[in-house]
Amino acid sequence: MKAKVIVMPKRSILDPQGVAVRDAMRHHGLPGAQSARVGKMIELEVGGATEAQLHEIARDLLSNPVVEDYELVIEK
């Protein structure tokens, strides 16, 4: 099974990388840049796993629920 896990900092958490990217966009001639948020995407290839197991991995290992949200996209 192929899957993608998208991990993003929670909205309530300050994302200093996102702020730096937004500021750089402004310096690059996009004064209207309002916000950027930096997360990560993890591509997985896993044999013999259930969707529930992948959610468990995404929640317990790939993201830290204290500061991040994840989205699991199963491709096939």
Partner: protein
């Protein structure tokens, strides 16, 4: 007194911790992260460094090391556990301490001496200090900004579990004396049973006058005093 310093691949403050603990009279062992038991120690130290290259998140992979199961067991039995810098991150990732440590506010890796105000001494790690005492201890981290949800923060404050905060030389906390953007200048916290302590600053690097400060010694003096009392009782 017996102390264990856990070594993960990428730990780099393990020798400093070992040296200081030995100086304080602890029979100190290194314990490799693949060991499955860390039983029989009075104190377990998770040292600073970059365990597993900080891959994924700081401390995220170390948390699943074989030895961490045993560290968690020992912590639940009341053994003293101290996590310094990366060790603090591992304690948060493993759920022994609440909250998380995220990227510094200004994105920089900060390596400098800071001032810490002791906010609580009713714990094994600062029992020999005074409330309000200001300590000169270095920090060295890129991801040390402590964060937690409002309910966690409220209980940390209500239960006196914030042990040290970043401050100025007079003990005043605020944005100007907050090196990394940590919530309410939090530099170190303990768990509800007060035997697990994590902090971003490095007390082991402030135990020798040649290194610019000996203010870190009070942490180890406190631990020794606490364990000595427990043994005498």
């Amino acid at each position: 007194m017996k102390a264990a310093v856990i070594r993960f691949p990428g730990s780099n403050c393990d020798q400093d911790c070992h040296l200081v603990l030995k100086e304080f009279g602890f029979a100190t062992d290194y314990v490799w992260h693949k060991e499955d038991s860390v039983a029989g120690y009075d104190l377990i130290v998770l040292p600073g460094g970059f365990s597993y290259g900080d891959y994924l998140r700081c401390g995220a992979i170390a948390r699943f090391s074989p030895v961490m199961k045993s560290v968690i067991e020992q912590a639940k039995r009341g053994v003293l556990v101290m996590g310094i810098c990366n060790g603090f991150q591992i304690l948060c990732e493993s759920g022994l301490l609440p909250g998380a440590l995220i990227r510094n506010r200004d994105l920089h890796f900060i390596c400098e001496h800071v001032r810490l105000r002791v906010d609580n001494t009713s714990n094994p790690f600062l029992s020999a200090a005074q409330v309000g005492q200001v300590l000169n201890v270095p920090i060295a981290h890129g991801e040390g900004s402590y964060t937690a949800d409002a309910a966690t923060l409220a209980s940390l404050n209500a239960e006196g579990r914030v042990l040290v905060r970043y401050c100025d030389i007079n003990g005043k906390t605020g944005d100007a004396t907050n090196p990394n953007g940590a919530l309410e200048n939090i530099a170190g916290i303990c768990n509800a049973t007060r035997n697990v302590f994590g902090l971003m600053p490095h007390p082991e690097r402030a135990c020798d006058a040649h290194l610019g400060s000996t203010d870190g010694r009070v942490f180890f003096q406190s631990i020794l005093a606490t364990l000595g009392k427990a043994q005498a009782a």
